[in-house]
Symmetry: C2
Subunit: 170 residues, 2 copies
DNA sequence: TATTGTTATACTCTATAACTATA
DNA sequence: TATAGTTATAGAGTATAACAATA
C-alpha cells in the first residue's frame, strides 16, 4: 500500500523547461535501449519457433486487420518499409503460402496482398505467442522495471513507500 | 498550473493484477512502435550525415566511455552483438580509422579496441547531433506525446486540467 | 505525365558453427 | 580443456535508383 498515486511531475516536460528537455531525452534513450533488448528477444523467438522475422510479423499483422487485403503502397506506408522492399517481403511470404497477391479489375497497376487461410491461422498463433512472450519478459523484470524506469528518468518522484526492491508484498 | 503532480496508478502494475498486466502489455507495444519510428529516423540521419550505422554508433558510445578501451568480449556483451559479428563491426570502424585494435602483453588471446583521436572527435560530434535530433523529434510531437502516451496506457489518470490539446500555455 | 509496382545493386546486420591461437 | 577472437556461410533487412506497365 502506499504505492498507488505516486506523484509524477509532468509540468517540467509540458512547460518545456530545460529540466523537462533533459527528462525527455533520458526517457527516449531509456526506451530505445529497453526496446532493443525486448525486440531482440522477440526476433529470436519468432525465428526459432515460427521461422518468421519481425518485419514479416509486422506485415502480417497489418493484413490480419484487413480481411480484404491492402495495396502494396498502403502496406509500405503502414510498415514503414520502402516500396521496393515490400515486394521482396511479400514475395517470401507468398512462397510460404501465407500471403497471396492479386490484381483487381479496376486498375491493373494495383496489387493487393492479403493473408491466405493458412497465413491467417499462422498469424493468429504467432500473435498469441507474441503476447505471451511479452508477458514472460515482463514477469522477469517486473514489478521493478516500469516503476524504476519512470523513477530513473525522474518522471516519478520516489517516495519512502515507493522503494520496490525486496518486500513488495509486505 | 494543475499539470504538475498528475497522479499515477502504479499499484495495479506492481501488484500484478489482471488490469496491471494489460497496462504493461500496452506500454511495451506502444514503446515498441514509438521507438521503431524514432530509431528509423535516427538511422537515416546517422547514415546520411555521418555515414554511420546505429550498431556502429552504439559500439563507439561504449568505447567513448572507456578511454582505455574494451576487450571484444566485453564489447560484445554491452552491445548485445555476438562475438563473431563484433569482429566485422570493429573491422569496418578500424578501416575508417575510428577505432584501433591492440593485443596487451599479459594475455595474447585478448584484443582490446579503443577509439582513436579521430574516432573520439567523430563520436563527440555524432553524439551531439544525436541529442539534437532527439530534441527535434520530440519537439514535433511534444508536449502531447509523452503525457498522452502515459495517459493512453492508463498509467496517468487524465484530469480536467490535463487536457493537452490546444491551449497548453493558457 | 503521374502512379503503382518491380527489378537491380550494394552494403550492413544477424545468427550459427567451425576453426585458430593462446592459456 | 577452456577461453578469446576470427573466419565462413547464409539469409534478411535497408536504401537508392532505374525501369516497366498502366492510368
Amino acid at each position: 500500500m502506499g504505492l498507488a498515486n505516486v506523484k509524477v511531475d509532468l509540468e517540467a516536460i509540458i512547460s518545456g523547461t530545460q529540466e523537462g528537455k533533459k527528462q525527455e531525452l533520458r526517457l527516449w534513450l531509456r526506451m530505445l535501449s529497453t526496446t532493443k533488448l525486448i525486440s531482440q528477444e522477440i526476433r529470436r523467438r519468432l525465428r526459432n519457433e515460427f521461422g518468421a522475422t519481425l518485419p514479416q510479423f509486422d506485415l502480417m499483422s497489418q493484413l490480419f486487420r484487413e480481411p480484404d487485403g491492402l495495396r502494396l503502397g498502403e502496406l509500405s506506408k503502414r510498415t514503414m518499409v520502402t516500396n521496393g522492399n515490400i515486394t521482396g517481403l511479400v514475395e517470401r511470404l507468398e512462397i510460404d503460402g501465407l500471403v497471396i497477391r492479386e490484381t483487381p479489375d479496376g486498375d491493373r497497376r494495383v496489387t493487393v496482398a492479403r493473408l491466405t487461410d493458412k497465413g491467417s491461422t499462422a498469424f493468429a498463433k504467432m500473435a498469441d505467442a507474441h503476447e505471451g512472450w511479452l508477458r514472460d519478459m515482463m514477469a522477469d523484470v517486473e514489478p521493478a522495471v516500469i516503476a524504476d524506469m519512470l523513477t530513473d528518468i525522474g518522471l516519478v518522484k520516489r517516495s519512502a513507500s515507493n522503494h520496490l526492491s525486496g518486500d513488495a508484498g509486505a
